[in-house]
Symmetry: C2
Subunit: 285 residues, 2 copies
């Protein structure tokens, strides 16, 4: 059941999709990535992801090797070739392979463009019905977390710690406040019915799903405050949840083993999840 | 003039040496590397590099896919096959390729082991005769710089900035003090003839060449102090230099365009360089 991937101009079986060991994605984490969800065969909020891709690339002076229009064509061709109904399309752009290994940007190398898909039924995920537990870990990442680079070792270690603890995500904490999850944005609903999530800046990734959920909430006259919050505040909250392209909106029902409210997904979280799924269905491309 | 590389059990031409796009080195920077110098066909201070490889791997719970004895055999086979007299042997170990992309450690994946060589005449490098300029940049890296991981994007950006400024290295500065260079350890010689370099800890990589140079200096009754120093202190110093596997000991003659002392390599730096080259020749394996 080999799917089809895209590597630098060619569609190839994923099992045979390879890059040079000199690729700067492999040697230096000198690359940027994006993940767009696919719902019922259509890309969810894809323009937002591709805009962030361009922004991240710009921040590290890495040119996009294909036009955005061509990238969308490739995304759609992968969805079609893999008959993908529900899942994810992954895009990675690296600074390519030079003749050797030198930290500074290579002069002659062509950027690498790699894309592949995976199957995931985000809407019917069991974890969304029950909610997930999160653990907390110190946020040990670099200072430019707004760049969606493949330098993800800190997140790997955080999410591995979560997996070992039987949790679904790790919330990273810095100076007593939650920054974000290992691969998601963090939200709480306060006892005053205010939705709180950290404001964008270099200390978090500007989440695409985060942005859409904030907008959808505000359109419904829900109160949203963008500011840092502490674990203590989260444990006293009415509800907690995460957002990401690969989970949409998902309830957080415990933090470090302590229940959030009654330990079950809250009504606002469930409502925002339904609203987001509606948005994804209506606006998919 | 294709050299021979090693990828997971096979010796292959470097131009054909590839890894899966699912390799966690490529997707997550979930890997560790080392670089050992080769001088006159022999590995320099190699045991120290392999000990650090094992330590870094241990810190991210990544098993070494081959014994250290076997890795040394492969290093030597690469040196022989490539008739390498002077240069570098690069080793990278990653957590391998899983069937898909998931942050947490894969259950079934075999770690990836990649090795290749490059030619470099370190002893006769022009930059060693003239010394190099360095620029200063903020140290924006993560909190575990003692782990020699391939999550090197911050160093890439630092060293690219140096290259654009016509400098040979970037010194990273945190809280007013130099941590280290983008790929080297930073030293000064004070007006009181004290060699100063930052003490090891999670804020710098424990340099193998740094360690050897400190030991060689102490054996010669030179005074060494391990503590942070500022750029201001460096500009008032008698001498400044860097150490690394790929440059041995190299004078720093300017910082952000301002000369260090008379702007030429100093006598102690030259002496330590000769001492290190002697050590490398005598102890090469």
């Amino acid at each position: 059941m080999d799917s089809i991937a895209y590597v630098n101009g060619s569609f190839v079986p994923l099992s045979q999709a390879k890059v040079s060991i000199l690729d700067r994605g492999f040697l230096f984490a000198d690359g940027i990535y994006e993940v767009s969800a696919v719902l019922e065969g259509k890309l969810v909020d894809n323009a937002s992801h591709l805009a962030r891709l361009e922004r991240s690339l710009g921040e590290i002076s890495l040119p996009l090797p294909e036009s955005i229009a061509r990238i969308i064509e490739i995304q759609k061709e992968l969805i079609a070739r893999n008959k993908l109904e529900n899942g994810l399309v992954y895009i990675e752009v690296t600074r390519g392979a030079d003749k050797g290994r030198d930290f500074a940007f290579p002069k002659g190398a062509q950027p690498t463009l790699v894309m592949f898909t995976s199957v995931k039924d985000i809407v019917n995920a069991e974890s969304a019905k029950k909610g997930i537990g999160v653990i907390t870990v110190p946020d040990i990442r670099w200072a430019r977390r707004d760049i969606k680079s493949v330098a993800l070792l800190a997140q790997v270690l955080a999410k591995q710690a979560a997996a070992e603890a039987g949790a679904g995500e790790a919330w990273m904490v810095e100076d007593g406040k939650v920054t974000e999850g290992g691969s998601s944005s963090a939200f709480i609903l306060t006892q005053d019915d205010v939705i709180v999530t950290r404001q964008n800046g270099s200390d978090i990734l500007p989440g695409c799903t985060r942005k859409a959920v904030v907008k959808l909430a505000e359109e419904r006259q829900l109160r949203v405050e963008e500011r840092p919050f502490s674990i203590d505040e989260a444990l006293k909250a009415k509800e907690a949840f995460i957002t990401s392209a690969s989970s949409f909106v998902q309830a957080v029902v415990s933090i470090d083993g302590k229940a959030v409210a009654n330990g079950r997904p809250g009504p606002l979280t469930n409502r925002l999840r339904e609203i987001y799924i509606g948005f994804a269905r209506e606006t998919g491309t």
